[in-house]
Homo-oligomer: 120 residues x 2
């Protein structure tokens, strides 16, 4: 990944409402959530949420598809992976013992199969 899109992704996430929406979609999994459902769970106005999702979408962090009257948004796990890899690129000056915990945190976040929190 290059610098510009990485900055765009980070800028998209550097906002309380957008970060909450993104994490909700990350936690929701590949099935995604309807825009209205996200707005309801986060308790934000639909137009405000739409603006947030638009920013995340332009940054490539989420994707959308139409399903009837609803628009379903899903996290782009591949983009997320690229962003994390970019942050850690060539890290630690060849001292794996420094960044081993980083990798451990990454694998620990999802492999434990914690319960989903619907109310967020």
């Amino acid at each position: 990944m290059e610098m510009k899109p990485a900055v765009a992704s980070l800028a998209a996430l550097a906002h309380e409402g957008r970060l909450a929406a993104f994490r909700l979609l990350v936690q929701a999994g590949p099935m995604g959530l309807a825009a209205g459902e996200v707005a309801r769970r986060l308790d934000v106005l639909p137009n405000t949420l739409s603006a947030s999702l638009s920013v995340l979408s332009h940054a490539g962090l989420i994707a959308s598809r139409r399903a009837g009257r609803s628009v379903i948004y899903t996290a782009d796990y591949d983009a997320m992976r690229e962003l994390l890899a970019f942050l850690m690129e060539d890290c630690c000056a060849g001292k794996p013992e420094i960044c081993a915990p980083l990798a451990a945190a990454a694998s620990g976040a999802c492999s434990t199969g914690r319960e989903m929190n619907p109310a967020q």
Copy 2:
């Protein structure tokens, strides 16, 4: 990690100059780099870089110590780990096969021992 400090960290990184500085420190390892050395490698004015490092420092992403006339900055790998864990928290709705690549990317970034890029 909670929402507020996570947003602050992401906002600190959502800037081309600051992101470049942070990645340089991440790649430099625990020994860190002097502020002037960072400014020289990134070709930015000292005062501009100082402002960038100040933002990163306030976000908790880097730490500083004085060494003679220079100030040495180092990446805070623990803060970095917390931020990545926060982004991936409870991800994938219990589908480890989705986020396994995320963990793989994390461990691949540093365990391969690539060479440092001094010019970056």
